[in-house]
Amino acid sequence: MFLLCSVFMQAQPVSNPPVEMADGMRSDGKIYVVVGVLVIILFGVFAYLMSIDRKVSRIEKNIEELSKK
């Protein structure tokens, strides 16, 4: 019996490589993907606003230089 058991133990299939299932981002019907999308959009718009801000600052500096002349 013991022998049989040990044979069965060894005959266990090799464990599968970890499969990504309903974990983290995929839990609760993948609602966190929607959250991630919102975060991306917010960061994108902020980054774009910053680039506009830099452009305006350059223009302000130009105006200052022009008014000094």
């Binding site: 995929r26 993948k30 993907v33 929607v34 991306i40 452009k55 105006i63 022009l66």
Partner: protein, 199 residues
Amino acid sequence: MPVPALEILHETIRNLYFHVCMWFSMMFILTVSLVYSLKYLNKPNEDYDIIASQSSYTGLMFGVLGLATGSLWARYTWGAWWTNDPKLNGAAIALLSYFAYVVLRNAMDDEQKRARISAVYNIFAYAMMMVFIMIYPRLKEVDSLHPGNGGNPGFNQYDLDSHMRLVFYPAVIGWLLLCSWIASINIRTERIKRHLANQ
């Protein structure tokens, strides 16, 4: 707001209010850009060039956001950030043709030449965008996996109680307004910049 429960999409059907709106905004503002490029070719006015160029820069920003949000979704639905789906590759080609527009503009110093050549190129880029985003993924032969294509659940066939439309249409209007606001800020700063440069 309740949403229809669908295979594959699950709760990410709510990306309709964000990811899809990014592309709508992009197409809207790129159409504005096309109109002003045509107007420029009809009557070379510097202001038309400013509006056309700044609108397409704004459109590019929305396109990049659309691609990034889609990529995140694909990572957790298809298992990869990028797949060789016709819809994805089509969108990438469309964006690349607008990146080429930016490069083309920056490559030329002479203002009138730049305005004229980029206006002509803009017409070409717009046609590429329409073909690769609107037509190519819808062909039967290429069979896209993107929601709404190739028999995959989108929202329009299943949204029987129109709850999604109730959110979607105002969201589209809101994003279009935000998009035109950003474009108008870009246009106004560019006008001031050119005005100073001419002094």
